[in-house]
Point group: none
Chain length 143, copies 4
Amino acid sequence: MQALSLSLASRIVDLALEKARAIDCKPLTVAVLDTGGHLLVLKREDGSGILRPQIAIAKAWGVLGMGLGGRTLAERATAAPAFFSALGDISGGRMAPVPGGVLLRDGGGNLLGSVGISGDTSDTDETCAVFAIESSGLKADPG
Amino acid sequence: MQALSLSLASRIVDLALEKARAIDCKPLTVAVLDTGGHLLVLKREDGSGILRPQIAIAKAWGVLGMGLGGRTLAERATAAPAFFSALGDISGGRMAPVPGGVLLRDGGGNLLGSVGISGDTSDTDETCAVFAIESSGLKADPG
Amino acid sequence: MQALSLSLASRIVDLALEKARAIDCKPLTVAVLDTGGHLLVLKREDGSGILRPQIAIAKAWGVLGMGLGGRTLAERATAAPAFFSALGDISGGRMAPVPGGVLLRDGGGNLLGSVGISGDTSDTDETCAVFAIESSGLKADPG
Amino acid sequence: MQALSLSLASRIVDLALEKARAIDCKPLTVAVLDTGGHLLVLKREDGSGILRPQIAIAKAWGVLGMGLGGRTLAERATAAPAFFSALGDISGGRMAPVPGGVLLRDGGGNLLGSVGISGDTSDTDETCAVFAIESSGLKADPG
């Protein structure tokens, strides 16, 4: 298992922000976490709201916590709201079960960490995350 | 009332993981708590998500907290979501009201502790817990 | 970087408890965490106090949090009590800066996780942790 | 008052890490916050401990919280430990009163934000922060 380097994590964040500017989306915050759920890199664009870092981190943390991408978590949260409300408490508020939290894997499918983006619609956030991960040569697992 | 020994609790965890491998389910985390809700044994399989220990413990803690198995808690949470949301706060995030939290009793019905399993579907988690408890000669009360 | 398997983590816990019984120390709780600070295995011996799981986990978590063994953390906490009081708050109560928290490395010095033991004196707790790690063929870094 | 842009905040983080490698210090985590105490950029070097993000943020947050640099906070914490213990609670664990938290000002002395660094000794952490701020054309106020 290859560890996710700061250099690669930084590249993913910068690629996500390049995409965000190319498609002219709202100001984003982008976080990359290692497999243990610990922050490697975060950047918040000018004008991105003050809760965006926590939301981006929670999108990235939740997918690691459950081992499932944000799109799957969102479907399950709709189907089982009481359990996901409990998961919010169990995790100490570290889960945001919506698209925009994407698992990061190497070519062999091994988990390397996750990306979380917040600022525009969840679908657009996810688009930027998937673009950045795949442009960096890794595999995106949005769930 | 017989107390639940480390030796017996360990046996239950190992039986649950043997069952998990026999039916080829997703990587599980298995926790056994004593009657006071305190952890005796926990094992997390390779690849089981980083929130799984807290979820397994919360499944096991919740059934002790209310004196009802996880299946009953899940039904009640569906019927009374606001109350279970309050219970999440009241318990400090220690309740996961879903199947996979199972009360552990001796032959006379005395409470010895509980088992919580997380990683696959709640039904499969519960199957592994019930199998392990009954294979160890105790009685499973899944609610 | 090799990940720490459940099988190896379980072996370390069992070796620590064998040592504990061989030297007849007080009932111990032993925890092994992965590099992200997440629980892999915990066992609490019969008669080990109900706060021991949290203490053992906090010993193991603190050494990962700072990248320094528990013995070094204890010295620093004595020299800089205000900072370590702040670290208790910053970490949300996840640090126990005393001997008995030991970093776990492979032969090449790569971090694999940590062991935390609580129940007897901190020195004895550390003795059992170091014994277990080295008997399993890994390197103990008690700080 | 000029707001601190993502571009300038990123430049400060990168300059701090260049300095860290030039003087060969331990793996650092560097955070830059805006005047509201909200994260703009964070980078954690390979091998920097898992609590380092929270510590770097807390160093940067504490200097904004009190309007005093980390060096002054450290002196006051030594003189008034009970008060700083209370501040830890009051702030919800967001203060690390040690050198390495540095206020960031423009040429006219206006506050623009803060930098927090953790990983080596507090003095070395502060050296990297001051270097980065001054190399970027701003004024460092380490307290």
